[in-house]
Symmetry: C2
Subunit: 300 residues, 2 copies
DNA sequence: GTAATGTCTTTTATCGGGAAAAAACATTTT
DNA sequence: AAAATGTTTTTTCCCGATAAAAGACATTAC
């Protein structure tokens, strides 16, 4: 086996959901852009949908014959890319404790344990290294630096530097910039979430990411924009790891975001700076509080 | 052929240079740390040195029999790691012009052209992507973002942010910190270079890197320290690319460094900030002046 | 003649294998 | 017994091969 067809399976599942909405599917290129895959994959999907009697396919005609049933879908776990599988496995080990700083990482062992080739693990580790949690010894193994307090402080230091600058740039954007409409939309979503916070608090993290990415984009600096990947990754796993007080934390954060948005719209640099600082400070606190005091980096 | 023995060859060459200095070689583990390789490699080296009559090797006894001759050395080009070879090839193409922004990068073609496997090229591209010059399209090719004016501006923006902060942290370091001795040593080297600038101006770039890395380390932030890799890479190739006015540029830079060092030693935040700003401004000018106006990023 | 479909080619993603290099273990030397 | 050498095992690095997916070209439909 050289390559899984997860791209096809994932696109197939997403295509199934489209069937509910229409009586006939659009052209192949159109479907391709819609699903984010090539025509080759689209045609495989259509072929299978015809086989399973979901659609009638004749050239331009793709008539929906019946609604998709649960058993039509490919299992969720078959739709993940190898990179996602490896990342999850790796992060589970990392956060599951017993992953002390200084510990060495074995490509072969990881590959065997996850059940993938060494090449994929190597590529993952190289990609992952930019998050600052692991480090390569030349011609030798990787070393785990650990998800320590020091790491969190270094991460948030950069985050604050970057976001304060981005927020200032955002506020200075001209009235007719498209970002203001984006901000309006995000504000609406925040208000909605705020009003239903009791039940929907777990939807915050996704909204959080979109909000901060919008702000960072205003920097027009690829290094700042890219750095948000590091933050997003850490917060993503951090949210899964630390569920304590989640509802309350998110409720506070939503309010801070709303104040932050208001400050941005005021375009007053002083207000923007203050609102941004306040929110980032509590974000830092949240992150820090989830790191056990004991877990300290070993002196090299 | 699955793996070149460049580690061995490079270590062998470096070991040859040791022969000039002593009458007998130290123990295997000691040689290993000295050369930065494992005992396995050390033993291969010793075996060959015995074969070629350079040493007499009997257990702990490694007597030097003769001085190494030029033909004892492995050719330079055989001592480079694949990663270095690929990087050089890639950068040559990138800087040789004709590498317009938006152009797509073909792994297979690159691999064939350089004469290496695709895996190595892929790994290189992944590692290289953090420099912000290329970007991956999911399940598809890489896109060249180009060495444009925008890139240089974004790079220097971050650099200035990071270095101002590092310099401030540096100046705040306690008297008994080891960095002051490092700074003294660097100052000495700067003075030496300054006095012989007419002939040794091309040695500046190496000194420059060491100086700035020392400052960045004072930040105690891995993201700041790691970011210097991006700067170092760009300046490394930039220096090779743009030789115009090299002597004069370096002469100015050495003087700026000396002023910067004096400011650091004064520990006056205002002076440090001013000296740092001044130097970074001229560094930015130098970089920008080497980028042809015409080379602009295409709108996506 | 534009945009779709049909067909063929190229490229990417991933694996297994094998040599180089590191690391671990066993034995000897001082 | 500490540190070296001798030997064996494991891991890293890199290639070639192959299925999945993308992309290019040819043909047909509107």
């Amino acid at each position: 086996m050289s390559k899984s067809n997860n791209v096809y399976k994932d696109a197939y599942n997403r295509c199934l959901r489209l069937l509910d909405e229409t009586k006939s599917l659009p052209s192949e290129p159109e479907l391709g852009t819609l699903l984010g895959v090539s025509r080759t994959t689209v045609r495989s999907i259509l072929a299978r949908m015809e086989e399973t009697g979901l659609i009638d396919w004749n050239k331009r005609n793709k008539t929906v014959l019946r609604a998709p049933r649960p058993e039509d879908f490919f299992p969720e776990e078959e739709t993940d890319s190898l990179a996602e599988i490896i990342e999850r496995s790796f992060m589970r080990r990392l956060l599951a404790g017993g992953a002390e700083a200084g510990m060495q990482i074995n490509e072969l062992e990881l590959a065997r344990e996850i059940g993938v080739g060494t090449t994929s693990v190597r590529e993952f580790l190289i990609r992952f290294s930019r998050f600052g949690l692991i480090e390569k010894r030349r011609n030798s193994h990787w070393v785990l630096k650990g998800f320590t307090r020091a790491f969190a402080l270094e991460l948030t230091e950069i985050r604050e530097m970057f976001e304060l600058r981005s927020a200032a740039a955002f506020a200075a954007l001209p009235e007719d910039s498209a970002v203001w409409a984006d901000l309006d939309r995000l504000e609406g979503e925040h208000r909605q979430l705020a009003s239903q916070i009791a039940t929907r608090f777990n939807e915050f993290s996704e909204l959080d990411e979109r909000f901060h990415r919008l702000i960072h984009r205003a920097s027009h600096n690829r290094f700042i924009v890219d750095f948000y990947d590091v933050i997003a990754m850490i917060f993503h796993y951090h949210y899964q790891w630390n569920k304590a007080e989640e509802r309350q934390r998110n409720e506070v954060a939503v309010q801070e975001h709303l104040a932050y948005i208001a400050a941005l719209r005021s375009r007053d640099p002083g207000k923007v700076d203050a609102a941004c600082r306040k929110h980032l400070k509590s974000a830092r606190q949240t992150l820090l509080s989830s790191i056990p005091e004991g877990r300290q980096a070993q002196p090299a």
